[in-house]
Symmetry: C2
Subunit: 360 residues, 2 copies
Amino acid sequence: MSARELRTETVHEIALIERLAGAFTRSSHQLNERHETDAELLRVPGSDPVLALTTDHIAEEIQAGLYVDAELIGWMTVMVNASDLSAVGARPLGLVLNETLPPDVGEGFLAALQRGIQQACDACGLHVLGGDTNFGPRLQMGGCALGVVPEGRPMTRRGCAPGDLLFASGPLGLGGAFALARLLGGSEADGERIPFRPVARLTEGQLLRPFASGCMDTSDGALPTLDELMRLNGVGFRFRITAAESLHPAAAAAASRARIPPWMLLAGPHGEYELLFTVPRGRLERFLVAARAREWRPLHLGEAVREPGLTLPIDGTLRQLDTTAVRNLFGEVGGDLGAYREGLARLAAAATTERARCAR
Amino acid sequence: MSARELRTETVHEIALIERLAGAFTRSSHQLNERHETDAELLRVPGSDPVLALTTDHIAEEIQAGLYVDAELIGWMTVMVNASDLSAVGARPLGLVLNETLPPDVGEGFLAALQRGIQQACDACGLHVLGGDTNFGPRLQMGGCALGVVPEGRPMTRRGCAPGDLLFASGPLGLGGAFALARLLGGSEADGERIPFRPVARLTEGQLLRPFASGCMDTSDGALPTLDELMRLNGVGFRFRITAAESLHPAAAAAASRARIPPWMLLAGPHGEYELLFTVPRGRLERFLVAARAREWRPLHLGEAVREPGLTLPIDGTLRQLDTTAVRNLFGEVGGDLGAYREGLARLAAAATTERARCAR
């Protein structure tokens, strides 16, 4: 597959965004193009710092029964937005909330929701500035976070070059494992066993901003994130570790209990809210020293390569996985989890064949 | 009624906000208290300009059948947010959108929605910076707007003093008339007759910022807005003109067709997105000169007075209207429009009695 083919292949999500936003005029104050960043970047005329603005809602996660616990819903309302700020290396300034509450919402549920919001704000050094409340038939939560990039360039998804080293801000797969436990025949207890309370990597994002060549959060899962980074940068990625080695121990245990290959927990669409980023070799030493000083141990996944596509060891063999197909699959099967799992297995089998074909 | 009684009387909306947000910690960067402004104000550490951030959604308006036309829905998604920026005198920087689309949304509807958004942005000098799209059973639209107050103090709702003159940025009642036509037995054609396409008063807000002592937009209707300004400032308002004289001609005609008293079109909860503001007499001349230079003719409604409560001529008599009761009524009758109209009529009748009692 050529780099050009890879880039022009259709990702449903990108096509949707283009359909929705393609005709809008652009602001001359905005520093990023569409798809290029996790948060929108803009410069206030006549002022120095770059602002980062992002909005994210959780509606589908609640509808699908993925988020049931009110405290977790409140927590995630903050984190989905804070995580976008982390991916551009912004310092958080504040958050406004949008809540659509069912008219019969209970006091206890409401209290737990607000508690989850406050706990997540505390964990991020964020504050709720205000908000807007509506009433509607279904609970829907969202927010909009504002941050500032005090000096220097903000991080974007663009800039990864062949040879750059690929890192994750922490172990992967908890988002996938949580979804698996909650939705795929898992008992309530299984869901509880997965410690899914992601903390947006705000400190890490600010720390790595001077070093990273490209960065994006894994809100949609690690493989879709890698797909986007490859697409925007015209590169491929080669893993040096197995998917199993990239997993959080609780995620690895969940994969083993569910008897699914570990890499499937990286497929999304429910992610772990880590950062995936690349560091050029020339900045590696300084980056690692800075990280160590903060007692942060990023996970070295592999490196960016010239040849497009994701290569990773599956079942002991290096395979090239069609990440675009992975990214589209959940939508294509209409969210049917059985069909999703079968589709992923088919893609893994196809990956072997593809590799075999390439090797000939 | 004493000022203290008036202030401590319960407004359901305020009580809800306190229940939802009362326990959240506050940011030291935030310049406004809760309820004090239409947009949240914050200062970027180490930087000069004050930022204004606001979020507003239209969910109930769509559910209730008030907004049906896709272009109007798109238009209002922008305007509800831009109007909040206007009320603090901010210059708009940009907007992020939240769209919850039904999975079966048609191409034509979607195109009209995006067209309405772009037209409203053009009318406001705003740009869409980005957004977040979800799919759900019902259409819900929202956004978050960011603005900047370049120098000097932003406007807040607080600062109106007895003797200050009360203005509206333009004729009132179109929001009420539109809701009346759309919902209260009006035909589709009646709704079309009301030119309800409010343009947020951004230029006017920036112009009046150095002059106004208090300002708020009428997104919830003029009377609820006056109620909030009285509550926050411990003042009353006395109208010098009749409600009929404050109305847009199309609103006056609608009231006449529907045989309802003109003042009822000021009751909300669907407003006209004008600004209500007060100007101290000492700044009046300079304000009027500045307004005239921009060919803007604000509407002089009356003045702020020491005695709490709203006094306005109804049916040829000066009456004091219980604006708190007006503000709560729509929620109390569960949105039943017949009951709402009857309730308003009862409040007007009670207003007479109250006045008679006071006079004794």
